[in-house]
Amino acid sequence: MGLAELRELIEPEETELKALSGREIAIDAFNALYQFLTTIMKDGRPLMDSEGRITSHLNGLLYRTVNLVEEGIKPVYVFDGEPPELKRRTLREREERKKEAEERLKRASSREEREKYARQVVRLSDELIEDAKRLLELMGIPWVQAPSEGEAQCAHMAREGDVWAAGSQDYDSLLFGAPRLVRNLTIVGQRKHPHTGEIIEVKPEILELDDVLDQLGLDSREQLVDLAILLGTDYNPDGIPGIGPKRALQLIRKYGSLDELQDTELWPKIERHLPAEPEEIRSLFLEPKVTDDYELEWEEPDEEGIVEFLVEERDFSEDRVRRAVERLRKAMKELGRKGKQETLDAFF
Protein backbone atom coordinates (compact mmCIF):
# COMPACT_ATOMS: atom_id res chain seq x y z
CA MET A 1 0.00 0.00 0.00
CA GLY A 2 0.96 3.58 -0.53
CA LEU A 3 4.32 5.10 -1.20
CA ALA A 4 6.14 1.89 -0.34
CA GLU A 5 5.01 0.67 -3.75
CA LEU A 6 7.26 3.28 -5.29
CA ARG A 7 10.24 1.76 -3.64
CA GLU A 8 11.77 0.65 -6.91
CA LEU A 9 11.58 4.21 -8.20
CA ILE A 10 13.02 5.84 -5.09
CA GLU A 11 16.64 5.43 -4.21
CA PRO A 12 17.26 5.85 -0.51
CA GLU A 13 20.75 6.66 0.58
CA GLU A 14 22.24 3.94 2.74
CA THR A 15 24.27 5.22 5.63
CA GLU A 16 25.82 4.18 8.93
CA LEU A 17 24.55 5.02 12.41
CA LYS A 18 27.71 6.97 13.13
CA ALA A 19 27.00 9.30 10.21
CA LEU A 20 23.92 10.37 12.18
CA SER A 21 26.00 11.27 15.21
CA GLY A 22 24.91 14.49 16.88
CA ARG A 23 21.53 14.46 15.09
CA GLU A 24 18.20 14.72 16.86
CA ILE A 25 15.72 12.32 15.33
CA ALA A 26 11.99 12.27 16.05
CA ILE A 27 11.04 8.61 16.08
CA ASP A 28 7.49 7.49 15.40
CA ALA A 29 6.98 5.68 18.73
CA PHE A 30 4.05 3.51 17.64
CA ASN A 31 5.99 2.38 14.62
CA ALA A 32 9.05 1.50 16.72
CA LEU A 33 7.00 -0.26 19.41
CA TYR A 34 5.15 -2.36 16.84
CA GLN A 35 8.51 -3.35 15.46
CA PHE A 36 9.75 -4.44 18.86
CA LEU A 37 6.57 -6.35 19.56
CA THR A 38 6.68 -8.22 16.27
CA THR A 39 10.38 -8.97 16.12
CA ILE A 40 11.52 -9.51 19.69
CA MET A 41 10.05 -12.93 20.31
CA LYS A 42 10.89 -16.19 21.92
CA ASP A 43 9.40 -19.52 20.86
CA GLY A 44 6.81 -17.77 18.74
CA ARG A 45 5.60 -15.51 21.54
CA PRO A 46 6.47 -11.99 22.62
CA LEU A 47 8.66 -11.80 25.72
CA MET A 48 6.64 -11.83 28.94
CA ASP A 49 7.17 -11.40 32.65
CA SER A 50 6.10 -13.96 35.23
CA GLU A 51 2.61 -12.50 35.31
CA GLY A 52 2.19 -12.93 31.57
CA ARG A 53 2.55 -9.25 30.76
CA ILE A 54 4.32 -8.47 27.47
CA THR A 55 7.83 -7.01 27.78
CA SER A 56 9.15 -7.07 24.19
CA HIS A 57 8.43 -3.36 23.79
CA LEU A 58 10.44 -2.50 26.91
CA ASN A 59 13.29 -4.76 25.86
CA GLY A 60 13.51 -3.09 22.45
CA LEU A 61 13.08 0.40 23.78
CA LEU A 62 15.87 0.00 26.32
CA TYR A 63 18.54 -1.80 24.32
CA ARG A 64 17.93 -0.28 20.89
CA THR A 65 17.71 3.25 22.30
CA VAL A 66 20.99 2.76 24.14
CA ASN A 67 22.57 1.69 20.84
CA LEU A 68 21.40 4.90 19.17
CA VAL A 69 22.58 7.18 21.97
CA GLU A 70 25.95 5.41 21.97
CA GLU A 71 26.33 6.43 18.34
CA GLY A 72 25.71 10.03 19.35
CA ILE A 73 22.13 10.10 18.09
CA LYS A 74 19.57 12.02 20.14
CA PRO A 75 16.25 10.23 19.85
CA VAL A 76 12.91 11.72 20.80
CA TYR A 77 9.90 9.40 20.69
CA VAL A 78 6.62 10.79 19.39
CA PHE A 79 3.39 9.03 20.38
CA ASP A 80 0.18 9.00 18.36
CA GLY A 81 -2.84 10.82 19.73
CA GLU A 82 -6.41 10.66 18.43
CA PRO A 83 -6.59 9.33 14.88
CA PRO A 84 -8.39 11.51 12.34
CA GLU A 85 -11.96 10.44 11.62
CA LEU A 86 -11.00 9.09 8.19
CA LYS A 87 -8.49 6.71 9.72
CA ARG A 88 -10.99 5.04 12.00
CA ARG A 89 -12.33 2.83 9.28
CA THR A 90 -8.83 1.64 8.47
CA LEU A 91 -8.26 0.91 12.13
CA ARG A 92 -11.54 -1.01 12.40
CA GLU A 93 -10.55 -3.14 9.42
CA ARG A 94 -7.16 -3.84 10.96
CA GLU A 95 -8.90 -4.86 14.17
CA GLU A 96 -11.06 -7.34 12.27
CA ARG A 97 -8.01 -8.85 10.64
CA LYS A 98 -6.38 -9.19 14.04
CA LYS A 99 -9.42 -11.09 15.31
CA GLU A 100 -9.17 -13.48 12.39
CA ALA A 101 -5.47 -13.96 13.10
CA GLU A 102 -6.29 -14.65 16.74
CA GLU A 103 -8.51 -17.52 15.72
CA ARG A 104 -5.77 -18.90 13.51
CA LEU A 105 -3.21 -18.46 16.27
CA LYS A 106 -5.31 -20.69 18.54
CA ARG A 107 -5.17 -23.44 15.95
CA ALA A 108 -1.51 -22.91 14.97
CA SER A 109 0.48 -26.11 15.26
CA SER A 110 4.04 -25.20 14.30
CA ARG A 111 6.34 -22.57 15.73
CA GLU A 112 6.52 -20.82 12.36
CA GLU A 113 2.76 -20.54 12.19
CA ARG A 114 2.57 -19.36 15.76
CA GLU A 115 5.17 -16.64 15.12
CA LYS A 116 3.39 -15.52 11.99
CA TYR A 117 0.00 -15.14 13.63
CA ALA A 118 1.47 -13.82 16.86
CA ARG A 119 2.92 -10.96 14.81
CA GLN A 120 -0.43 -10.28 13.24
CA VAL A 121 -2.36 -10.09 16.51
CA VAL A 122 -0.07 -7.54 18.12
CA ARG A 123 -1.97 -4.61 19.57
CA LEU A 124 -0.49 -1.56 21.12
CA SER A 125 -2.65 -1.39 24.21
CA ASP A 126 -2.76 1.59 26.53
CA GLU A 127 -0.78 -0.39 29.11
CA LEU A 128 2.05 -0.99 26.67
CA ILE A 129 2.10 2.69 25.69
CA GLU A 130 2.15 3.80 29.32
CA ASP A 131 4.99 1.33 29.98
CA ALA A 132 6.99 2.82 27.15
CA LYS A 133 6.51 6.41 28.32
CA ARG A 134 7.45 5.46 31.85
CA LEU A 135 10.64 3.76 30.71
CA LEU A 136 11.63 6.69 28.47
CA GLU A 137 11.19 9.09 31.36
CA LEU A 138 13.40 6.96 33.58
CA MET A 139 15.98 6.77 30.80
CA GLY A 140 16.07 10.56 30.42
CA ILE A 141 14.93 10.32 26.79
CA PRO A 142 12.33 12.92 25.76
CA TRP A 143 8.95 11.91 24.37
CA VAL A 144 6.21 13.99 22.81
CA GLN A 145 2.47 13.40 22.80
CA ALA A 146 1.13 14.19 19.34
CA PRO A 147 -2.39 15.59 19.24
CA SER A 148 -3.16 13.27 16.32
CA GLU A 149 -0.80 11.40 13.99
CA GLY A 150 2.69 10.77 15.40
CA GLU A 151 4.30 10.95 11.99
CA ALA A 152 2.73 14.34 11.35
CA GLN A 153 4.19 15.60 14.61
CA CYS A 154 7.64 14.16 13.74
CA ALA A 155 7.47 15.91 10.38
CA HIS A 156 6.44 19.17 12.02
CA MET A 157 9.39 19.05 14.41
CA ALA A 158 11.75 18.35 11.52
CA ARG A 159 10.31 21.23 9.48
CA GLU A 160 10.77 23.54 12.44
CA GLY A 161 14.41 22.45 12.62
CA ASP A 162 14.02 21.14 16.18
CA VAL A 163 15.08 17.73 14.96
CA TRP A 164 17.18 16.78 11.97
CA ALA A 165 14.91 14.06 10.64
CA ALA A 166 11.83 11.96 11.24
CA GLY A 167 12.49 8.29 12.01
CA SER A 168 9.98 5.70 10.85
CA GLN A 169 9.62 2.70 8.57
CA ASP A 170 6.62 4.26 6.86
CA TYR A 171 7.06 6.81 4.13
CA ASP A 172 4.17 8.94 5.39
CA SER A 173 6.48 11.36 7.21
CA LEU A 174 7.45 12.62 3.75
CA LEU A 175 3.80 13.22 2.91
CA PHE A 176 3.48 15.13 6.16
CA GLY A 177 6.36 17.29 4.97
CA ALA A 178 9.41 15.98 6.81
CA PRO A 179 12.39 17.27 4.81
CA ARG A 180 14.22 14.09 5.74
CA LEU A 181 13.19 10.59 6.75
CA VAL A 182 15.50 8.00 8.33
CA ARG A 183 14.37 4.40 8.03
CA ASN A 184 15.62 1.26 9.82
CA LEU A 185 16.93 3.21 12.83
CA THR A 186 15.66 0.80 15.45
CA ILE A 187 16.47 -2.39 13.52
CA VAL A 188 20.04 -1.64 12.43
CA GLY A 189 22.40 -4.59 12.52
CA GLN A 190 22.11 -8.24 11.68
CA ARG A 191 18.49 -9.22 11.52
CA LYS A 192 16.65 -12.30 10.55
CA HIS A 193 14.28 -11.70 7.67
CA PRO A 194 10.79 -12.18 9.16
CA HIS A 195 9.62 -14.37 6.30
CA THR A 196 12.62 -16.11 4.80
CA GLY A 197 14.65 -16.43 8.00
CA GLU A 198 17.73 -15.29 6.09
CA ILE A 199 20.25 -13.17 8.01
CA ILE A 200 20.50 -9.70 6.51
CA GLU A 201 22.55 -6.65 7.39
CA VAL A 202 20.15 -3.76 7.93
CA LYS A 203 21.54 -0.25 7.56
CA PRO A 204 19.87 3.09 8.13
CA GLU A 205 18.49 4.74 5.00
CA ILE A 206 18.01 8.44 4.46
CA LEU A 207 15.30 9.78 2.18
CA GLU A 208 15.31 13.48 1.46
CA LEU A 209 11.95 14.86 0.41
CA ASP A 210 13.54 16.94 -2.35
CA ASP A 211 15.41 13.93 -3.71
CA VAL A 212 12.29 11.80 -3.67
CA LEU A 213 10.40 14.48 -5.59
CA ASP A 214 13.28 14.71 -8.08
CA GLN A 215 13.51 10.99 -8.52
CA LEU A 216 9.79 10.72 -9.14
CA GLY A 217 9.80 13.74 -11.43
CA LEU A 218 7.29 15.61 -9.28
CA ASP A 219 7.22 19.35 -8.61
CA SER A 220 5.85 19.53 -5.10
CA ARG A 221 4.81 17.72 -1.96
CA GLU A 222 1.19 18.37 -2.94
CA GLN A 223 1.76 16.18 -5.98
CA LEU A 224 3.39 13.50 -3.85
CA VAL A 225 0.31 13.50 -1.60
CA ASP A 226 -2.00 13.19 -4.61
CA LEU A 227 0.11 10.33 -5.88
CA ALA A 228 -0.10 8.61 -2.49
CA ILE A 229 -3.87 9.00 -2.47
CA LEU A 230 -4.09 7.16 -5.79
CA LEU A 231 -1.90 4.39 -4.36
CA GLY A 232 -3.68 4.25 -1.03
CA THR A 233 -2.97 5.88 2.32
CA ASP A 234 -4.06 5.23 5.90
CA TYR A 235 -7.12 7.32 5.05
CA ASN A 236 -8.02 5.43 1.87
CA PRO A 237 -6.17 2.13 2.24
CA ASP A 238 -7.45 0.55 -0.94
CA GLY A 239 -6.18 3.27 -3.23
CA ILE A 240 -7.68 3.09 -6.68
CA PRO A 241 -7.91 -0.53 -7.81
CA GLY A 242 -6.50 -0.94 -11.28
CA ILE A 243 -4.16 2.02 -11.02
CA GLY A 244 -0.72 0.70 -10.20
CA PRO A 245 2.29 2.69 -9.03
CA LYS A 246 3.71 3.44 -12.48
CA ARG A 247 0.36 4.44 -13.91
CA ALA A 248 -0.41 6.63 -10.90
CA LEU A 249 2.91 8.41 -11.24
CA GLN A 250 2.30 8.90 -14.94
CA LEU A 251 -1.11 10.42 -14.25
CA ILE A 252 0.14 12.88 -11.64
CA ARG A 253 3.07 13.88 -13.84
CA LYS A 254 0.81 14.39 -16.81
CA TYR A 255 -2.13 16.12 -15.15
CA GLY A 256 -0.34 17.76 -12.24
CA SER A 257 -2.97 17.00 -9.59
CA LEU A 258 -6.07 15.04 -8.71
CA ASP A 259 -8.15 18.11 -9.45
CA GLU A 260 -6.98 18.14 -13.05
CA LEU A 261 -7.99 14.50 -13.32
CA GLN A 262 -11.60 15.42 -12.62
CA ASP A 263 -12.19 16.26 -16.25
CA THR A 264 -10.93 12.93 -17.51
CA GLU A 265 -12.85 9.74 -18.08
CA LEU A 266 -10.90 8.13 -15.24
CA TRP A 267 -12.51 10.34 -12.65
CA PRO A 268 -15.73 8.42 -11.94
CA LYS A 269 -13.66 5.37 -11.06
CA ILE A 270 -11.30 7.35 -8.87
CA GLU A 271 -14.13 9.16 -7.15
CA ARG A 272 -15.97 5.93 -6.44
CA HIS A 273 -13.01 4.60 -4.46
CA LEU A 274 -12.26 7.71 -2.44
CA PRO A 275 -13.91 7.77 0.99
CA ALA A 276 -13.94 11.58 0.96
CA GLU A 277 -13.25 14.58 -1.22
CA PRO A 278 -9.62 14.64 -2.38
CA GLU A 279 -9.27 18.01 -0.67
CA GLU A 280 -10.24 16.50 2.66
CA ILE A 281 -7.77 13.61 2.44
CA ARG A 282 -5.08 15.93 1.16
CA SER A 283 -5.51 18.39 4.00
CA LEU A 284 -4.89 15.63 6.53
CA PHE A 285 -1.35 15.47 5.12
CA LEU A 286 -0.84 19.12 4.29
CA GLU A 287 -2.39 20.64 7.41
CA PRO A 288 -2.34 17.94 10.06
CA LYS A 289 -3.00 18.60 13.72
CA VAL A 290 0.34 19.18 15.44
CA THR A 291 1.60 20.87 18.56
CA ASP A 292 4.47 23.18 19.49
CA ASP A 293 4.14 22.17 23.09
CA TYR A 294 7.28 20.08 23.56
CA GLU A 295 10.72 20.34 25.10
CA LEU A 296 13.64 18.28 23.95
CA GLU A 297 16.04 17.55 26.74
CA TRP A 298 18.22 14.52 27.18
CA GLU A 299 18.92 13.85 30.82
CA GLU A 300 20.88 11.56 33.10
CA PRO A 301 19.13 8.17 33.41
CA ASP A 302 17.60 7.13 36.73
CA GLU A 303 19.36 3.80 37.27
CA GLU A 304 17.51 2.70 40.40
CA GLY A 305 14.17 3.67 38.88
CA ILE A 306 14.89 1.59 35.79
CA VAL A 307 16.00 -1.38 37.89
CA GLU A 308 12.87 -1.16 40.02
CA PHE A 309 10.62 -1.05 36.94
CA LEU A 310 12.32 -3.60 34.71
CA VAL A 311 13.96 -5.96 37.19
CA GLU A 312 11.63 -5.96 40.17
CA GLU A 313 8.33 -5.51 38.36
CA ARG A 314 9.07 -7.11 34.99
CA ASP A 315 11.64 -9.81 35.67
CA PHE A 316 14.47 -8.45 33.49
CA SER A 317 17.99 -9.61 34.30
CA GLU A 318 19.52 -7.13 36.72
CA ASP A 319 23.04 -7.52 35.31
CA ARG A 320 21.98 -6.81 31.79
CA VAL A 321 19.82 -3.85 32.76
CA ARG A 322 22.53 -2.26 34.88
CA ARG A 323 25.07 -2.72 32.10
CA ALA A 324 22.73 -1.07 29.59
CA VAL A 325 22.07 1.84 31.95
CA GLU A 326 25.80 2.27 32.48
CA ARG A 327 26.31 2.44 28.70
CA LEU A 328 23.46 4.91 28.46
CA ARG A 329 24.87 7.15 31.18
CA LYS A 330 28.28 7.25 29.51
CA ALA A 331 26.77 7.95 26.12
CA MET A 332 24.58 10.75 27.50
CA LYS A 333 27.60 12.39 29.10
CA GLU A 334 29.43 12.08 25.81
CA LEU A 335 26.49 13.72 24.00
CA GLY A 336 26.88 16.78 26.17
CA ARG A 337 30.61 16.93 25.65
CA LYS A 338 30.73 16.31 21.93
CA GLY A 339 28.40 19.09 20.96
CA LYS A 340 26.34 19.13 17.85
CA GLN A 341 27.70 18.17 14.46
CA GLU A 342 27.12 20.97 11.97
CA THR A 343 26.96 20.45 8.22
CA LEU A 344 28.77 22.54 5.64
CA ASP A 345 25.45 23.78 4.26
CA ALA A 346 25.48 26.71 6.66
CA PHE A 347 28.80 28.00 5.32
CA PHE A 348 28.14 28.85 1.69
Binding site: E13, T15, K18, A19, L20, S21, G22, G72, I206, D214, K330, G336, R337, K338, G339, K340, Q341, E342, T343, L344, D345, A346, F347, F348
Partner: protein
Amino acid sequence: MTLFRAYQEEARYFKYAFNAAGKVVEEAPLIISPDKGILSRAMDASHIAMAVLEMPWEMFDEYEAPTEEEELIYGLDMEEVTRIVRRTRVTDEFTLEAESEDEVIVKLATGGYEREFRLRSIEIEDIPDEPELDYTVEVTVVPDFVQDAVRDADLVSDTVKVGVEDGTFYFKAEGERGTVQPKVQEGAEALLGFDAEEDVETAYPLDYLKDMIQAAQGAESVIIRLGEDMPLELEFRIGPAGEGRLKFYLAPRVEE
Protein backbone atom coordinates in the same frame (compact mmCIF):
# COMPACT_ATOMS: atom_id res chain seq x y z
CA MET B 1 39.86 9.35 -30.37
CA THR B 2 41.48 10.65 -27.21
CA LEU B 3 39.42 13.36 -25.55
CA PHE B 4 42.10 14.14 -22.98
CA ARG B 5 45.15 12.49 -21.54
CA ALA B 6 47.33 13.10 -18.48
CA TYR B 7 50.47 11.08 -17.85
CA GLN B 8 52.80 10.95 -14.91
CA GLU B 9 55.93 8.92 -14.42
CA GLU B 10 54.91 8.04 -10.88
CA ALA B 11 51.40 7.33 -9.63
CA ARG B 12 52.37 8.60 -6.17
CA TYR B 13 50.32 11.81 -6.16
CA PHE B 14 47.30 10.27 -7.71
CA LYS B 15 47.37 7.35 -5.31
CA TYR B 16 47.47 9.29 -2.05
CA ALA B 17 45.08 12.03 -3.10
CA PHE B 18 42.44 9.74 -4.54
CA ASN B 19 42.76 7.34 -1.66
CA ALA B 20 41.95 10.04 0.88
CA ALA B 21 39.24 11.68 -1.23
CA GLY B 22 37.67 8.29 -1.90
CA LYS B 23 37.33 7.59 1.80
CA VAL B 24 35.63 10.91 2.47
CA VAL B 25 33.17 11.19 -0.42
CA GLU B 26 31.09 8.44 -1.99
CA GLU B 27 30.99 9.90 -5.46
CA ALA B 28 32.69 12.80 -7.18
CA PRO B 29 32.76 14.54 -10.53
CA LEU B 30 35.94 14.53 -12.56
CA ILE B 31 35.99 17.85 -14.34
CA ILE B 32 38.41 18.12 -17.24
CA SER B 33 38.96 21.79 -17.90
CA PRO B 34 40.78 22.83 -21.06
CA ASP B 35 42.73 25.54 -19.22
CA LYS B 36 42.66 24.60 -15.53
CA GLY B 37 43.46 20.91 -15.64
CA ILE B 38 41.73 18.10 -13.77
CA LEU B 39 39.37 19.20 -11.01
CA SER B 40 36.87 17.76 -8.61
CA ARG B 41 34.55 19.05 -5.89
CA ALA B 42 32.22 16.84 -3.88
CA MET B 43 30.49 16.67 -0.52
CA ASP B 44 29.94 13.49 1.42
CA ALA B 45 26.37 12.23 1.77
CA SER B 46 25.83 13.80 5.16
CA HIS B 47 27.27 17.17 4.04
CA ILE B 48 29.78 17.15 6.87
CA ALA B 49 32.84 17.12 4.62
CA MET B 50 33.90 18.31 1.19
CA ALA B 51 36.84 17.26 -0.95
CA VAL B 52 38.30 19.61 -3.57
CA LEU B 53 40.96 18.45 -5.98
CA GLU B 54 42.91 20.66 -8.35
CA MET B 55 45.50 19.11 -10.63
CA PRO B 56 46.65 21.72 -13.15
CA TRP B 57 48.02 20.44 -16.44
CA GLU B 58 51.56 21.55 -15.49
CA MET B 59 51.53 18.93 -12.75
CA PHE B 60 51.71 16.17 -15.32
CA ASP B 61 54.78 15.01 -17.22
CA GLU B 62 52.78 14.82 -20.44
CA TYR B 63 49.26 15.91 -21.20
CA GLU B 64 46.72 16.52 -23.91
CA ALA B 65 44.05 18.96 -22.74
CA PRO B 66 40.61 18.75 -24.38
CA THR B 67 40.52 20.66 -27.65
CA GLU B 68 36.93 21.81 -27.28
CA GLU B 69 36.29 24.88 -25.17
CA GLU B 70 33.81 23.17 -22.89
CA GLU B 71 34.70 21.18 -19.81
CA LEU B 72 34.31 17.43 -19.89
CA ILE B 73 32.56 16.10 -16.81
CA TYR B 74 32.64 12.49 -15.66
CA GLY B 75 31.12 11.00 -12.53
CA LEU B 76 33.25 8.73 -10.38
CA ASP B 77 32.03 6.10 -7.99
CA MET B 78 34.78 6.69 -5.45
CA GLU B 79 34.51 3.20 -4.05
CA GLU B 80 35.57 1.88 -7.44
CA VAL B 81 38.35 4.45 -7.59
CA THR B 82 39.56 3.39 -4.15
CA ARG B 83 39.73 -0.20 -5.35
CA ILE B 84 41.96 0.76 -8.25
CA VAL B 85 44.06 2.94 -5.98
CA ARG B 86 44.69 -0.06 -3.77
CA ARG B 87 46.07 -1.89 -6.80
CA THR B 88 48.36 1.03 -7.65
CA ARG B 89 52.03 1.19 -6.70
CA VAL B 90 53.49 4.62 -6.10
CA THR B 91 56.16 3.84 -8.70
CA ASP B 92 53.71 2.77 -11.41
CA GLU B 93 53.59 4.97 -14.50
CA PHE B 94 50.18 6.52 -14.46
CA THR B 95 47.86 7.67 -17.23
CA LEU B 96 44.35 9.09 -16.91
CA GLU B 97 42.50 9.51 -20.19
CA ALA B 98 39.21 9.18 -21.98
CA GLU B 99 38.07 8.17 -25.43
CA SER B 100 34.39 8.82 -24.89
CA GLU B 101 32.11 10.69 -22.53
CA ASP B 102 30.94 7.43 -20.94
CA GLU B 103 34.07 6.22 -19.24
CA VAL B 104 37.48 7.26 -18.00
CA ILE B 105 40.51 5.07 -18.40
CA VAL B 106 43.25 4.57 -15.86
CA LYS B 107 46.44 2.93 -17.11
CA LEU B 108 49.18 1.67 -14.84
CA ALA B 109 52.48 0.60 -16.33
CA THR B 110 55.37 -1.11 -14.66
CA GLY B 111 58.09 -3.59 -15.56
CA GLY B 112 57.23 -3.55 -19.22
CA TYR B 113 53.52 -4.32 -18.94
CA GLU B 114 50.39 -2.22 -18.75
CA ARG B 115 47.15 -2.61 -16.84
CA GLU B 116 44.06 -0.79 -17.96
CA PHE B 117 41.00 0.01 -15.87
CA ARG B 118 37.88 1.46 -17.43
CA LEU B 119 35.54 3.28 -15.06
CA ARG B 120 32.02 3.83 -16.26
CA SER B 121 30.92 7.39 -15.63
CA ILE B 122 28.01 7.73 -13.21
CA GLU B 123 25.49 10.54 -13.04
CA ILE B 124 26.45 13.30 -10.63
CA GLU B 125 23.57 15.46 -9.52
CA ASP B 126 25.18 18.68 -8.51
CA ILE B 127 28.67 19.95 -8.12
CA PRO B 128 28.97 22.11 -5.02
CA ASP B 129 30.80 25.44 -4.95
CA GLU B 130 33.53 25.85 -2.41
CA PRO B 131 32.43 27.58 0.78
CA GLU B 132 33.72 31.12 1.20
CA LEU B 133 35.10 31.51 4.66
CA ASP B 134 36.89 34.25 6.58
CA TYR B 135 39.37 32.27 8.57
CA THR B 136 41.24 33.92 11.41
CA VAL B 137 44.00 31.32 11.60
CA GLU B 138 46.27 29.81 8.96
CA VAL B 139 49.10 27.49 9.92
CA THR B 140 51.39 25.37 7.79
CA VAL B 141 52.86 22.24 9.33
CA VAL B 142 54.75 19.17 8.27
CA PRO B 143 52.36 16.33 7.36
CA ASP B 144 53.77 14.07 10.08
CA PHE B 145 52.50 16.37 12.80
CA VAL B 146 48.91 16.26 11.57
CA GLN B 147 49.07 12.51 11.10
CA ASP B 148 50.41 11.95 14.60
CA ALA B 149 48.02 14.42 16.18
CA VAL B 150 44.93 12.84 14.63
CA ARG B 151 46.01 9.30 15.45
CA ASP B 152 46.88 10.27 19.03
CA ALA B 153 43.52 11.92 19.52
CA ASP B 154 41.84 8.79 18.21
CA LEU B 155 43.20 6.88 21.21
CA VAL B 156 40.87 8.60 23.63
CA SER B 157 37.94 10.16 21.79
CA ASP B 158 36.00 10.46 18.57
CA THR B 159 36.09 14.24 18.62
CA VAL B 160 39.11 16.50 18.61
CA LYS B 161 39.48 20.19 19.34
CA VAL B 162 41.84 22.08 17.09
CA GLY B 163 43.06 25.45 18.28
CA VAL B 164 45.61 28.19 18.60
CA GLU B 165 46.64 29.85 21.85
CA ASP B 166 49.60 32.16 22.47
CA GLY B 167 51.53 31.12 19.41
CA THR B 168 50.89 27.41 19.90
CA PHE B 169 48.95 25.31 17.44
CA TYR B 170 47.40 22.29 19.12
CA PHE B 171 45.01 19.39 18.92
CA LYS B 172 43.20 18.34 22.10
CA ALA B 173 41.16 15.20 22.70
CA GLU B 174 39.45 14.31 25.95
CA GLY B 175 37.81 11.04 26.77
CA GLU B 176 36.93 8.70 29.60
CA ARG B 177 40.41 7.24 29.42
CA GLY B 178 42.32 10.51 29.52
CA THR B 179 43.49 13.46 27.48
CA VAL B 180 45.99 13.87 24.66
CA GLN B 181 47.29 17.18 23.41
CA PRO B 182 49.75 17.16 20.50
CA LYS B 183 51.08 20.68 19.92
CA VAL B 184 53.66 22.69 18.04
CA GLN B 185 55.00 26.12 18.95
CA GLU B 186 55.81 29.12 16.81
CA GLY B 187 59.46 28.90 15.82
CA ALA B 188 59.53 25.10 15.86
CA GLU B 189 60.86 23.36 12.77
CA ALA B 190 57.60 21.51 12.17
CA LEU B 191 55.63 24.76 12.06
CA LEU B 192 56.32 26.12 8.60
CA GLY B 193 53.92 29.04 8.76
CA PHE B 194 51.82 30.66 11.48
CA ASP B 195 49.29 33.44 11.08
CA ALA B 196 46.67 33.90 13.78
CA GLU B 197 44.45 36.95 14.26
CA GLU B 198 43.03 35.53 17.46
CA ASP B 199 43.04 32.47 19.70
CA VAL B 200 40.46 29.92 18.60
CA GLU B 201 39.35 26.42 19.52
CA THR B 202 36.81 24.38 17.57
CA ALA B 203 35.83 20.72 17.75
CA TYR B 204 35.71 18.33 14.77
CA PRO B 205 34.72 14.68 14.27
CA LEU B 206 37.79 12.45 14.20
CA ASP B 207 36.49 9.73 11.91
CA TYR B 208 36.57 12.17 8.99
CA LEU B 209 39.97 13.55 9.92
CA LYS B 210 41.40 10.05 10.02
CA ASP B 211 40.36 9.54 6.41
CA MET B 212 41.56 12.96 5.31
CA ILE B 213 45.07 12.57 6.69
CA GLN B 214 45.60 9.62 4.38
CA ALA B 215 46.55 12.31 1.87
CA ALA B 216 49.43 13.50 4.05
CA GLN B 217 51.74 10.76 2.78
CA GLY B 218 51.93 12.24 -0.68
CA ALA B 219 52.21 15.85 0.50
CA GLU B 220 55.15 18.14 1.29
CA SER B 221 53.21 20.28 3.72
CA VAL B 222 49.73 20.79 5.11
CA ILE B 223 48.00 24.13 5.44
CA ILE B 224 45.28 24.27 8.10
CA ARG B 225 42.75 27.09 8.19
CA LEU B 226 40.56 27.65 11.22
CA GLY B 227 38.06 29.97 12.85
CA GLU B 228 35.84 29.86 15.92
CA ASP B 229 32.96 27.43 15.23
CA MET B 230 33.91 27.40 11.56
CA PRO B 231 34.76 24.51 9.27
CA LEU B 232 38.33 23.28 9.25
CA GLU B 233 40.17 23.46 5.97
CA LEU B 234 43.04 21.08 5.32
CA GLU B 235 45.08 21.78 2.22
CA PHE B 236 47.65 19.33 0.93
CA ARG B 237 50.02 20.51 -1.79
CA ILE B 238 50.57 17.67 -4.20
CA GLY B 239 52.65 17.09 -7.32
CA PRO B 240 56.39 17.15 -7.98
CA ALA B 241 56.62 20.87 -7.14
CA GLY B 242 53.38 21.22 -5.22
CA GLU B 243 51.52 22.47 -8.31
CA GLY B 244 48.32 20.66 -7.39
CA ARG B 245 46.11 20.82 -4.32
CA LEU B 246 43.83 18.51 -2.43
CA LYS B 247 41.63 20.36 0.02
CA PHE B 248 39.15 19.14 2.55
CA TYR B 249 36.52 21.13 4.40
CA LEU B 250 35.13 19.65 7.59
CA ALA B 251 32.09 21.03 9.44
CA PRO B 252 32.58 21.69 13.17
CA ARG B 253 30.87 20.29 16.19
CA VAL B 254 29.51 23.17 18.20
CA GLU B 255 28.62 23.38 21.86
CA GLU B 256 24.92 23.56 22.56
